[in-house]
Symmetry: C2
Subunit: 325 residues, 2 copies
């Protein structure tokens, strides 16, 4: 089988590719023969003869044709302009996050191969302020163009799936920790900055206060869920194709407390709070989350904060500076 990964040099893409390289097949699919990686540029590509890196903007025709030759059987569509950057540069966000996704869907439709397509949507589809509890009936009301475009692609994916052009599965990611230290334009990056700083015993300044609540998932757990989306039997995805993933809901104070417990109280003095009301409202006020549909479909969060932090701290150690994707 042929796999295509867009955004393959992003922090999620690289981890997904590394995991795929450890596998000879995915449940329910034939052997992995080829993994095509699409991104603007590449770094840290594993040594695996099945990998084919194609640099370029996937939303442009020549690159799109190249990354879909041969026609993929499974697509992980991760490529995106992050929240803050998409808000500041509207045309770029539109081009990549909506029009690029549409061009990719159209290309896959025209190829007629009906591939499985896993799309990393975002909790940004809910917007802000959120109701006192979020569940599978909560209306979507994106407050940023990034979230609006994520919702648009979910709807396109549902329609393309209904028409058997692709077999789409959208998963709405919570905050994934830790991101690499290089800023990528995501306004939610402070949760990664906090964990990275405390893991290294370094001071940090946060744009939210200690009471800020977050929905978090480790990068390791995120990859588990992305692969689970790809390997769900088709029968299980009928009637719905967008899941809000389960996430651990923790406060900034919970995280600092967990690091204090690991360091005899050395963490608290390292954290300086300088709340930005807009960031706090949009990214630091997450209510309880009931992700019943995703739980029933077999998606999982990290289980508990210490497991999440163990995984996140481990990931910090493996990062090195990379080309922003």
């Amino acid at each position: 089988m042929n796999i295509l990964v867009t955004g393959a040099n992003g922090y999620i893409g690289r981890e997904l590719v590394a995991r795929l390289c450890t596998l000879s097949a995915l449940p329910g699919y034939p052997d992995i023969q080829r993994i095509t990686l699409s991104d603007l540029a590449f770094s840290q590509v594993p040594d695996d003869p099945r990998l084919h890196c194609i640099p370029g903007n996937f939303s442009e025709p020549a690159t799109l044709a190249a990354i879909t030759d041969p026609a993929p059987d499974l697509v992980f569509h991760l490529a995106a302009v992050a929240s803050g950057q998409a808000e500041l540069d509207f045309p770029l966000g539109l081009q990549i996050n909506l029009e690029g996704a549409l061009r990719l869907l159209e290309r896959l439709r025209e190829q007629g191969n009906n591939p499985t397509l896993v799309y990393t949507s975002s909790i940004a589809v809910y917007g802000a302020p959120l109701p006192p509890m979020v569940d599978d009936t909560t209306p979507l009301s994106p407050a940023l163009s990034y979230g609006a475009h994520k919702q648009l692609v979910e709807i396109l994916l549902a329609d393309y799936t209904r028409r058997n052009f692709v077999q789409g599965r959208a998963i709405r990611l919570p905050g994934i920790v830790v991101r690499p230290p290089a800023p990528n334009g995501a306004w939610s990056i402070f949760s990664s900055t906090l964990i990275r700083s405390l893991a290294a015993g370094q001071p940090c300044t946060l744009p939210v206060n200690a009471q800020a609540t977050l929905w978090l998932m480790s990068l390791h757990c995120c990859i588990d869920n992305i692969l689970h989306a790809a390997t769900l039997p088709a029968a299980k995805v009928s009637g719905g194709n967008a899941w809000t993933l389960p996430a651990l809901r923790v406060s900034v104070g919970d995280i600092v407390g967990a690091f204090d417990a690991r360091s005899a109280g050395a963490a608290s003095p390292l954290v300086h709070y300088a709340p930005d009301p807009a960031i706090q409202a949009q990214f630091g006020n997450l209510p309880p989350l009931n992700s019943a549909a995703a739980n029933a479909a077999g998606f999982r969060h990290d289980g508990d904060l210490n497991t999440l932090l163990d995984r996140a701290v481990l990931a910090c150690a493996t990062h090195s500076p990379t080309i922003a994707s």
Copy 2:
């Protein structure tokens, strides 16, 4: 002020243009100086020096540039490929109903004039089957590409409005009666066929049974609501920009009964029922509708079935064959 009407040669567009020609200004706007009409071709254009017809496909760059020169202050975006045609010809529906709308929004954003834009969405955004009651909290779950694309444009319009690129107002139209006799690819056309046939004393065959329930609005009332959307004070549209219009909920039997009352029972024998389960499920099973938000914003339905039928029968008399738009 300059007004742009897309789909100006459609059955709603022609009626809107005729009404605009009777007006020197709209409440809250300066005098109407120019009305640009966009459609593939034109027929029955009123004699008014303010009208400028620009034939062509608005989704193509040259035509789009022409119809937005000079930059409009108010846009009525009616152009669409109808439900059945968009389902049968996916690329055409995508091009006109989604990509065309996006190109228009992008053009208006780039012009920087922040025009008011009234978009005729559809109750097709709800999909089928519907819950036992539809209100402003009913989730959208389009069952056809036509409805999916309408929902997508609503979301785009909300984002463009939030960012002050346009002042968008989307109104979800119910079944509008009567449409012209020429088929335009709308699978809901049978309600117009029924009324037109009984008004003329002609037999007809329906793809639904007598118990089928419909949400209807006369074309006259539809134009009232389109103009109301354009003239709502901006303060009233904050917090929401898509309204499900109020509609009369009637059964096919109600309509036949009303014509029987007007014709000493001559209507019933004219109607033959040959239900198509798919059409009945999608277009003939409309539950009670509570359009509270639209009512509060001043949108109105026809009031009662006899008023609706009076208006619809009057409209039948004014139709003549036209070029399909």
